[in-house]
């Protein structure tokens, strides 16, 4: 986050401040966390809880949450489904990838309210009856992870990548798996895993 230099919302008078700090450098007056313009007229207090029903892995859960809660934070902080990970909260890393109505979505950029009535699938919902999903098994077989933090997002993305028809070649897999960063750089093994699992997933 970066501040807005000289933001009028600061509550401090910029000129008075500068006069008072004569000789010091011109500096932004807000803290680095100050990114929002507080002068926007207040609507409904967003911190007032709202009721939302989320359908996750085939199960409905009724939540009373802050209206700004993302799907990621709803899963992690309210439903205790911590498989989906927060790596950036900006949609830049893919660690939070889930399926919403079978499409891959970065859950950190999706509000929980906006996902109401849709089917959310997380890493916890992929295996059936203690049997690993073919993509999970392929990740194990091909050592497609090291620290494992990006892995739930990689696997959810990989499942969608195959179903989208984007796993036809290694080049395709590389391209369509590029929204998920793996800092350990298990990439060649991830490509091998997607290749291994694709035929089985397409068979259904």
């Amino acid at each position: 986050m970066s501040e807005k230099p000289g933001s009028g919302a600061s509550g401090f008078d910029r000129r008075a401040f500068m006069a008072g700090a004569a000789g010091s450098a011109l500096v932004p007056m807000a803290a680095r966390a100050a990114a929002q313009d507080a002068s926007v007229p207040a609507a409904r207090d967003p911190a007032l809880p709202v009721d939302v029903t989320l359908r996750v892995n085939g199960k409905d859960s009724r939540l009373r949450i802050d209206a700004r809660t993302t799907v990621l934070d709803a899963l992690r902080e309210h439903l205790k489904l911590t498989g989906s990970k927060k790596g950036c909260d900006h949609g830049q890393c893919g660690a939070c990838t889930v399926l919403i109505d079978d499409r891959r979505v970065v859950s950190c950029l999706t509000l929980a309210l906006a996902a109401e009535g849709q089917e959310i699938t997380t890493i916890e919902g992929l295996a059936t009856d203690d049997r690993l999903h073919p993509m999970q098994q392929a990740f194990v077989d091909n050592d497609a992870f090291q620290c494992g933090y990006c892995t739930p997002g990689q696997i959810m993305s990989a499942v969608a990548c195959v179903k989208e028809g984007h796993a036809g070649s290694e080049a395709d897999i590389r391209e369509y798996m590029s929204g998920n960063i793996c800092r350990c750089a298990a990439y060649p093994n991830i490509v091998a895993a997607v290749k291994q699992a694709a035929p089985e997933i397409m068979k259904g």
């Binding site: 986050m1 790596g87 997380t122 090291q146 933090y149 696997i155 793996c182 093994n189």
Partner: protein, 763 residues
Amino acid sequence: MTAAAPEPKANMGHPVPRYDAAAKVTGRATYASDMPLDNPAYAFLVTSAIAKGRIDGFGLDDAKAVRGVIDIVTHENAPKLKESKLFSNGGYAGTTIQPLKSADIAHDGQIIAVVIAETYEAAREAANRVKVSYTAVEPSSSFDSPGTTTAAAKGQNAQFKEDPEAGDFAKAFDQAEVKLTASYATPTQHHNPMELFTTSCAWMGDNLVIYEGSQYVYGLKNGVAEQLGIDADKVRVVNPYVGGGFGSRGSMTPRTAIIAGIAKRLNRPIKLVPTRDQGFTIATYRAETRHEIRLGAGRDGKLMALRHEGAEVSSRPDAYCVGGTKTTTRLYACPNVSSLVSIVRADRNTPGFMRSPPEVPYLFALESAMDELAVKLNMDPVELRRINDTTVEPIGGKPYTSRSLMACFDEAAKTFGWSQRSPQPKSMSDGDWLVGYGCAATCYPTQMAPSAARVRLQRDGRTRVEIAGHEIGTGAYTVIAQTASERLGVPLEKVAVFMGDSDLPPAPVAGGSNSTASTCSAVMMVCDQIRQRLFKAVMPGDSLADKAKETVGISQTPSTQAAKSDRPLDIEKAFDALGVGVVEEYGEWKPEGAPLDSFKAMHSGHARLIGGPEMKDKIAYAFGAEFVEVRVNRFTHEIRCPRLVGAFAAGRIMNPRTARSQLMGGLIWGMSSALLEATEIDERNARYVNDNLADYLVPVNADVPNVEVILLSEQDEQINPAGVKGLGELANVGTNAAICNAIYHATGQRIRKLPVRLENIEV
């Protein structure tokens, strides 16, 4: 065997799948911020918008008005914390800049307030509404900024003991037939592990539990206890899984004790999830460096003179440096050597270790210079390394315990097809693409540290290993389980491993590539204690040394042991003789040459790493050779790296699968370091500009080329009982130079400053 699980060669373990694989692919692996807390409050950090100066005051009314805000902590009301010294001066901290202590600001992005609220969303909003007025002073941001101070590292950093030298450099350089003088530079880089720098703290009475991704739970436990002024036994750090470390979680950051103090005051668990951009300034980073290399050689290529000067940026209060001359002055046979490392102090957060801290910048300089020298000599760069290969390091005259550098060069060259290279620059192309081949040596010191372990064996063979090691993606669970399985002769699936908890027996920091060597040596020793007890029970007249080696196969590969008998020792008979249901042993292992106070230091969270060039009468390194193909588009100057080949020798390979993955990741790290990664600094404000994962470039899948890892068989019995050299930081060292050398070959342009971007190419 898949590519992921290479067939083991001599002195390699089985490429079994990871112990933690199922947990990691199902989302069941619990990282620090996944740990359940009872009714937590949420913390959000406010960080400084200036790099130097002081806070004149806060405007907190707007922030406090946000529904759900519980408290706002600034230097005016923060919990009082004791200071902790820098880890290199006998403390635990990665920085001595302690936020929330006064109104002073020492660097951009310093923590200046912590907002606590009922929800994450409320804490974030309130943090955004905190107003701060500052008196700012113009900061010094880096090397060329006015106001920095520069001094030799020796004398100000306890871990940098000497500027290595030998013979008479000045005279030898003067007389050399072929001379090279060249300057190199490397940028600021940030680790950016995928897991954010989260901290959760919960008190139960006087006892504190900390959930935080850490590469050193004993260091963090003792450090936080010191800052809080409480008994270290009251603090427990738990992190069974760590979402990447790369050095960023090796030393204590200021955030932990702050959150612990606030949780105590509020009598409530606190969960902090900092943002990605805050991670750039609340933890450490790899500082930018500059180098001047001078090489003097005969026409035959023999090095006669070598000088390496390095300069590194650090913060105002802390003399951190990596000092890689300890390696670069010893890598090749050269009788006349001198060196100097300097530290430049600027208004920055204190840097710290990042994967292969000394070797990445310092070998980039040396291995680039070696390539430049080969060009001057009109000599194949591989042959130049061969001519200067040595079994004895030139500074102290100590022998390498083993050194497979040229074997690695030859193996990698063959696989890569180095003989297809036409030596002249700009002589190879493919359509619009200029093609270049380059290579470089890679190496990393073999290090060990004292470690303890507890092992429990049940009558049915079930085994439980307890050790406060760290799973940062290296495969620590897996190789420890394999070690116990092999040593006790029990099936791998019967072994359970518990790590990442400071209530377990202490293990050293997961850094300096020492973990496998240290923890596996300790686990081996404790398994032997168990076997000793069992053998004594069934064969009271025999000593372990006589019998056990033959029957249980201490130094044998597990396959030969299994082939002999699936139960070399009748465990049930031994348990009957002992008359017990469980045999449990605890033991403490220390490497050869460890000082007397090593175990005391181990328990108090001070990891004393021993090895590399600092052993008494020998020197121990792992080696490798890396070859790359680079393609530079002659019109757009786009740089691509379609092939990376590395051959590595690192003593016993515990598991070829996890070893290959780490080395592969390391090669990609090296490619990333050469072509992508740099933290850009706004020099006016001493501020990191690209502090997010969209602007700080790390490789994505489409960036990653064909990577080939070759594991060479190597046996070294002089290093540690496990025979392990460590390889987590081996592969990303040579790649920077290999890629720049390949770019030179492709374009005729020598680039001495990283990273290389298309705007740097002037074809």
